[in-house]
């Protein structure tokens, strides 16, 4: 059947057709939809892992147990899973094993734009790179065949434009792949110095065979056109190049490690000028140069950011990039960056932190938006889980300055992903720092995936929820306090108190994600235009429902987006912001005088 699928849906489809039985992932843009699409197939066991390392390990177990298994993550997720990745290369597989990494050139939703193809080279693994949804399906199926024939995990790399673009896919039927029998094999599956030494030559030998296979695999092919220009290209860059130079000769690479050396040499000999067009690093280019072939690449094609047809055409045709015609120079447009939703539970905590003028070691999630104006209440954001450790380290080296003036802040999903071990470190090494866990019981940033704190699985079934209070206590934190982040007074007071305490403490801001739960917390609020003196104070909590109205800077509240959370009302010193329905007991509930 012909259907329109995104690259991610096509990988899921390919996995299904390949007889896949087990898939595990940790969400991360642009990879998240793969597992969500797989979850719809009853034949496959699909589950969210608490982090990427666990996803790879659980899938490795499934593979050793004889099943075709898949682990999925975004590019930085593979850093987290790098430890099992490198050794799995030595162990090999039983059932086929594919690890998908979705890179994010252009950093549409990431903190860096690392090129994960280097992992294939470093871990000595075959690497496949689809350039559209049809290939995403086809390559996934082929990846499992390669994995089983060569006894190796296979890396499948997409980029945002492949994962999130949709194109036509011809689908097929699922094949039944029975579980492979399990055999106990000490020299292969128990990696020790003695067995590892036996496995390394096997890996090198496998790489040799894969190199030969790369030429004949059908994944890499030549399309002779005009011989004046030959283009070696891969992934989405192929589509851009083809768009702007339909008549050139192409060596299209679907398997980019190990490279088809023979094919590359033949192709290079057949053309006058040779280009490598690839996004990000000169991964192919460097290897082509190593073969002693002269080639034009990164001196023309930018290695920073995403490519697009305009950039590729500028590189190939030696044109200047088309200047935006007229408007950007003439008209300055306000940006429309994402903001915390109206009524988001994270907002109150950042308001309090700003008020207390605290140094905040931040982390990754929706709450990272608390770093932006008007809240501006975050000092660092490095990688998932880093907040806790960085907070500890910063206080350790300068307790006079930071001990009572610094917190670490982290979301529930991020804490479970990799904050827990740092909290153990803090207790073990007698650190004294306050950690705030923003527990909205969901992985909101990536589109609301369930996690252990939700107590709900990928398939929306009930499971045992992780108790963050008990966990913190078990780690050795004696001061664990829950707060209602909508109560600004309490939130501010508790944070102040805990920062003063002579031992480490955990504050759990306990409130669900309002967007996910589609919550209305109270009646819609309005601004009494008579009482309001346009002091701008309420704007400083940055609720998008609060916008400038007809009376100059005096705000009005958009009744369609306000969810009645009461936070703006608590900020207003003149009680000019009021619930439309005064019978609602918000005022009492928030402990305000009224």
């Amino acid at each position: 059947m012909k259907v329109v699928l995104s690259g991610n849906e096509a990988v899921a489809r390919g996995f299904y057709e390949a007889g896949g039985r087990f898939a595990s992932a940790y969400p991360g843009t642009p990879s998240t939809e793969v597992l969500e699409a797989i979850a719809k197939f009853d034949e496959i066991i699909a589950q969210w892992a608490p982090n990427e390392k666990v996803a790879v390990e659980v899938a490795a177990g499934a593979s050793l147990g004889g099943a075709r298994a898949l682990a999925v993550m975004k590019h930085v997720g593979l850093n987290v899973a790098a430890d099992p990745l490198f050794s799995l290369s030595y162990m090999g597989v039983n059932g086929g094993f594919v690890i998908m990494t979705a890179d994010d050139p252009g950093m549409h939703s990431s903190q860096n734009e690392q090129d994960n193809r280097w992992y294939a080279k470093a871990a000595k693994l075959p690497l496949l790179e689809p350039s559209d949804s049809q290939e995403a399906r086809d390559f996934t199926i082929q990846a499992f065949e390669i994995s089983e024939s060569f006894d190796t995990p296979v890396l499948l790399r997409t980029t945002t434009r492949v994962s999130h673009s949709k194109s036509v896919v011809l689908t097929g039927e699922r094949i039944d792949v029975p579980l492979k029998p399990y055999r106990k094999e000490l020299t292969k599956n128990v990696l020790l110095p003695s067995t590892g030494r036996l496995r390394h030559p096997v890996v090198e030998n496998r790489l040799k065979k894969l190199r030969a296979f790369s030429t004949v695999s059908g994944l890499n092919w030549v399309d002779w056109g005009d011989r004046k220009i030959g283009i070696i290209t891969n992934g989405i860059a192929y589509q851009y190049a083809r768009e702007v130079m339909p008549g050139a000769s192409y060596l299209k690479l679907g398997m980019t490690y190990p490279l088809p050396e023979k094919l590359i040499k033949e192709f290079a000999e057949g053309v006058e000028t040779l280009y490598v067009i690839e996004e990000l690093d000169p991964f192919i280019e460097e290897q082509v140069r190593m073969l002693g072939i002269k080639v034009t690449g990164k001196e023309k094609v930018p290695g920073i950011g995403e490519l697009n047809p305009d950039i590729v055409s500028a590189a190939l045709l030696d044109r200047m990039l088309a200047e935006d015609d007229f408007q950007k120079s003439e008209l300055k447009l306000p940006e429309r960056s994402p903001v915390l939703c109206a009524g988001c539970s994270h907002r109150g905590v950042f308001w309090a932190l700003k008020k207390l003028r605290v140094t905040v070691m931040g982390d990754i999630g929706c709450y990272t938006l608390g770093a932006l104006p008007p809240l501006n209440a975050m000092d660092s954001c490095l990688n998932m889980g880093a907040s806790v450790g960085m907070a500890e380290g910063m206080v350790k080296v300068n307790p006079e300055k930071f001990q009572k003036k610094l917190v670490g802040i982290i979301g529930d999903s991020t804490f479970i992903h990799s904050g827990i071990t740092s909290l153990i470190d803090m207790v073990y090494n007698r650190g004294i720092t306050t950690v705030i866990i923003l527990d909205n019981r969901i992985t909101a940033m990536t589109g609301h995936q369930e996690n252990p704190a939700s107590g709900i699985t990928l398939q929306h079934e009930q499971t045992k929820p992780l108790d963050l209070t008990k966990l913190s206590e078990a780690i050795g934190i004696r001061r664990v306090r829950k707060i209602d982040p909508y109560n600004l007074k309490e939130t501010t007071a508790v944070i102040r108190e805990e920062m003063q305490s002579p031992e480490p403490s955990v504050i759990i801001a306990d409130a669900p994600c309002v967007l996910y739960e589609k919550l209305k917390l109270g009646p819609v609020y309005y601004v009494d235009q008579e009482k309001c003196v346009a002091c701008d104070l309420c704007y400083k909590i940055g609720c998008p429902a609060l916008v400038p109205g007809p009376n100059g800077r005096k705000p009005v509240i958009d009744p369609l987006s306000c969810i009645g959370c009461d936070q703006c009302a608590q900020v207003c010193n003149l009680d000019a912001i009021l619930p439309e329905d005064l019978t609602f007991d918000n005022l009492a509930r928030r402990g305000r005088s009224g």
Partner: protein, 201 residues
Amino acid sequence: MAITNVIFTGVGGQGVLLASDVLAEIALRHGLDVKKSEVHGMSQRGGSVISQVRFGEKIYAPLVSLNQADFIVAFEKLEAVRYLDYLKPNGVMIANDYEIIPATVEFGDVEYPKEILPVFMKKTNRIILENITKLAEGLGNPKVLNVIMLGILSNYLEIPEPVWRGAIKTRVPDKFLELNLKAFQAGREIRETAPGIVPQP
């Protein structure tokens, strides 16, 4: 058949992605090759959203080049201007005359652009600029904005009406079908705002 390039744009939550999905489905049903590209990211948090659809006999790049969009279908005015560079000279601009003020306007120094029509007219005189949100609300549900926009677009493409209606059917729940088909029809009845106005030099 030549390649048709359509850019849909708007603000997270307005139904931009669904509209582009429906168009991609329509192109497939019409027997064409089609590619569509969008960036999800944080679109749910009120960010600017763009989705590009290209269809024709054979499509390579899923991205539209500068000055190559035959149509821009903008669900919000500011977003229409933001992607104007992509419109072909004298391409068709279909814009919802509706403002969603971005948060940056409140504490930044950049203002929401006031006069939009003259800006459009520097590039084209084929413009539809109407408050479609109001029209959608009038039909009973602001959510049908996206289907009205598709209705407007359908006037310009040589794809038979039943194909459009068929694709919409697969995308909306039964109980909303009638409303959506009505919205589609309402879109089909909308004509260019300023026919024949020649751009000022």
